[in-house]
């Protein structure tokens, strides 16, 4: 109030033009990176619980105590995993197509991505059905069941939500709701999709890979 009112120096000082600060990154993508860092911690703890309890010993007289080794069909899951990893590649092709202005090609790649992702989800469904059915491995059976279903279940949920989002974006490109050569929405969902793949890579390495090579 005081001297600032009295000192009206507005006209006596010449301020040089200032360059606008360039944002380090497009904000949607940055937001997504923050979100997946948060999600990474979430998955880290679920995975750590699996690792912490992996040597959970069976009570003395329970020969059919479920473990990763005697319950999981690793080669089959490895087969479905190939589809999930491939879908990371196909969504990248879709991005490239958009940048090149080829909308139709982009849409086709997105459809391939969704198909691959769906095959993975179906694979997970088959695995769950097998476990829950004949083998009677459930979340409440023992610690392997608790940790396995919680960890893979949340991952599956993330894949599913990703598929929904990719489908919506594909649809928007098709109908022209997303225009131009640079779709922030596609770039952003692509970051998310790679993250979902990366989480699966960790889970696969920890859970299935040892089974494949033993």
């Amino acid at each position: 109030m005081s001297e600032m009112t009295n000192n009206n120096r507005r006209n006596s000082v010449v301020y040089p033009t200032l360059e606008p600060t360039k944002p380090a990154m497009e904000k949607n993508q940055l937001g997504m990176i923050c979100f997946i860092s948060s999600e990474a911690i979430f998955f880290l703890l679920l995975i750590l619980a699996f690792v912490y309890y992996r040597n959970d010993v069976a009570p003395v007289n329970s020969p059919d105590w479920p473990t990763a080794k005697n319950s999981l069909n690793a080669p089959l899951t490895a087969f479905f995993t190939v589809f999930l990893f491939s879908s990371s590649l196909t969504i990248w092709f879709a991005e490239r197509a958009i940048h090149a202005g080829k909308k139709l090609t982009a849409c086709i790649w997105l459809i391939v991505t969704v198909t691959f992702g769906s095959i993975f989800i179906i694979g997970q469904g088959i695995e769950y059905a097998d476990l829950l059915g004949e083998k009677n491995v459930t979340i409440s059976r023992n610690l392997f069941g608790s940790t396995f279903f919680t960890m893979t279940g949340f991952h599956g949920l993330h894949v599913f939500l990703g598929l929904v989002a990719i489908s919506i974006i594909g649809f928007m490109i098709l109908t022209g709701a997303i225009k131009g050569k640079n779709s922030a929405a596609l770039n952003t969902i692509s970051v998310y999709w790679h993250f979902v793949d990366a989480v699966w890579a960790v889970i696969f390495t920890l859970v299935y890979l040892p089974l494949l090579f033993s």
Partner: protein
């Protein structure tokens, strides 16, 4: 500040988000204006503060005398659980976020946060979590396992009521809402700063909110993961934390405190930032050691993830474990000390104006120091083996969170209220509010240090009259009466000043940051024009062009306390 004086650089105008311009009642539900949402955060925090405060009052009423039967044990346990949970998740964190939502965009000269709609979503998800938590009271009993809900007490076998399910679901929602807020701050600070404003030039409150957001997005998911596992145990009979079927009771503690200790800093970092705004303005000097203040906040953020196990020294995890976490916890005292001395150095050589805001800020330093040094006696783990889970902890923690955070919030409220409402808070009521809070606070909590040393454990609904216990408890309980009066005074002041307080000019305190370069309250688009930003104090530069900060050639406009080397070194006593 009116157009007669200010702005030289017209602000680029953008189209408003469609929902931003809602008016009337619907604006309190659907507005995406960060200022409105900020006030909504603060008001909802105020509502929960009153609830949490009444819970505290009930607890102190029960503990005022030995073997009191005022509350049943179950009622007491529910109330202390709800008090802790409410204050942490529904009061302090929303207060920190609320001030950030309101002032971070203003302080960096932005139109709004990066994601206005997400901002609104985050608020309502948080409130939904709070409502879910309190719904437990009518759904069959509130949770009663403490705000930390240690397994296996929180498991179905020992807490079969629905209270803990609501606790876990409510916190899950509140946690997600908080993460949304955190993401928004990070992106806003990185991409929305006004032209010319470097990251090293943003006000310290923006810095602390920014750092805080990293803590939020990295710590809250740890809680969410733990809650998901607890819910799986409770609802689906999983075995994560049930020792009877191989689960580990200690794993819950590891997970909870992985979140829980960063959470402690989430609850104080922005308050440090508030002080770093208030103290310079009322001392009429820039913040001393800006870079060191920011760097010490970063250091604390990093360290906060490496110290969580100091909550677990009594668990019996072994000498190596204890020694590591004891040492890392001690390290936190160093950056914290840097802050305290920087505040004092800011006051040093200034011309201090004793507004209510400044009074709260100064007492923050002292009370927070008391809380800080008593905190060191938990880092020294052999003394922790006596003090942990005693009333000594209760005293320590309230010195940090009440004497610290809440005093910071009060300082910030008296400081920023004119900007938010266009009216000044009454200084007369403010001074009364201040002294009443000081007396009540110290009376309630200082004595609790001694109660702890006399052997009183915390979370007990009653106690035997061991030597001195009743008297000390009574003093503590009487202090609450003063705190109650102080709270009433504060709300009365807000109410009466909001309605017919003295009209506030644009920049009532002669402050220097951008939020004071627009009207009070700011228009929906925040700024018509911005002053040029060439230092940390654009409004100082504008008012003192001959002694502008950017004229000082030291790196990052640093002015040194050391005497100028050359005779033409500037002195600032120019007026």
């Amino acid at each position: 500040m009116s157009e007669a004086r200010l702005p030289l650089v017209p602000q680029k105008t953008e189209a408003l988000p469609r929902l931003g311009s809602k008016s009337g009642f619907i604006s309190w539900v659907a507005s995406t204006d960060h200022k409105q949402i900020g006030i909504m955060y603060l008001l909802s925090a105020a509502v929960f503060f009153v609830i949490g405060g009444l819970e505290a009052a009930l607890m102190r009423a029960q503990l005022g005398t030995a073997r009191s039967t005022f509350l049943s044990p179950d009622a007491y346990n529910q109330i202390f659980t709800m008090h802790g949970t409410t204050m942490v998740f529904l009061v302090v964190v929303p207060l920190m976020i609320g001030f950030g939502v309101y002032f971070v965009p203003l302080q960096i000269g932005a139109r709004d946060l990066a994601f206005p709609r997400l901002n609104l979503l985050g608020f309502w998800v948080l409130v939904f979590g709070g409502v879910l938590l309190y719904f437990s009271f009518v759904a069959g009993g509130a949770p009663n396992a403490g705000w930390f809900s240690y397994a296996p007490l929180s498991e179905h076998a020992y807490s079969s009521g629905v209270g803990l399910d609501y606790w876990a679901l409510g916190l899950l929602a509140a946690g997600i809402g908080t993460v949304i807020g955190g993401i928004n701050f990070i992106v806003t600070v990185l991409t929305m700063r006004a032209p010319g404003m470097k990251l090293t030039q943003v006000p310290m409150f923006v810095w602390t909110s920014f750092i805080n957001s990293f803590l939020i997005i990295l710590a809250l998911p740890a809680l969410n993961a733990a809650l998901v596992m607890l819910l799986a145990d409770r609802l689906l009979n999983a075995h994560f934390f049930t020792p009877d079927s191989g689960g580990s009771a200690v794993l819950w503690q590891q997970y909870f405190w992985t979140f829980g200790h960063p959470e402690v800093y989430i609850m104080i970092l922005p308050a440090w930032g508030m002080l770093a705004e208030v103290i310079p303005v009322f001392s009429r000097k820039p913040l001393f050691g800006y870079q060191f203040f920011a760097a010490s906040s970063v250091a604390i953020a990093f360290l906060s993830f490496a110290v969580y196990a100091h909550h677990m020294f009594a668990v019996g995890l072994g000498p190596a474990f204890d020694a590591f976490f004891g040492a890392s916890t001690e390290l936190i005292a160093i950056p914290t000390g840097v802050k305290i001395f920087n505040w004092i150095a800011t006051m040093w050589g200034g011309k201090i104006r004793y507004t209510t805001s400044m009074l709260f800020a100064i007492s923050f330093i002292v009370l927070f120091t008391i809380g800080g040094v008593s905190g060191v006696s938990f880092a020294i783990f052999p003394t922790d083996w006596q003090t942990e889970d005693s009333y000594y902890v209760v005293a320590h923690m309230h010195y940090v969170l009440f004497g610290g955070t809440l005093f910071g919030v009060l300082a910030a409220t008296y400081y920023w209220f004119p900007k938010m409402t266009g009216r000044m808070l009454s200084e007369k009521w403010g001074k009364w509010n201040f002294w009443m809070t000081m007396i009540g606070f110290n009376m309630t909590f200082m004595i609790q240090h001694f109660l702890g040393l006399a052997g009183m454990p915390r979370r007990v609904y009653t106690y035997n009259d061991n030597p001195g216990w009743t008297l000390m408890n009574l003093i503590s309980s009487v202090g609450v009466i003063f705190l109650g009066i102080a709270t009433l005074m504060f709300f009365w002041n807000v109410w009466i000043s909001w309605r017919k307080g003295e009209l506030a000019p644009d920049n009532p305190w002669d402050a220097w940051t951008l939020e004071w370069a627009t009207s009070s309250p700011p228009p929906i688009h925040n700024f018509d024009q911005l002053p040029p930003i060439r230092s940390r104090r654009p409004l100082w530069d504008l008012a003192h062009p001959e002694d502008a900060d950017y004229l000082h050639k030291n790196p990052e406009n640093q002015r040194s306390a050391e005497p100028p080397r050359k005779p033409e070194g500037r002195t600032a006593d120019h007026a």
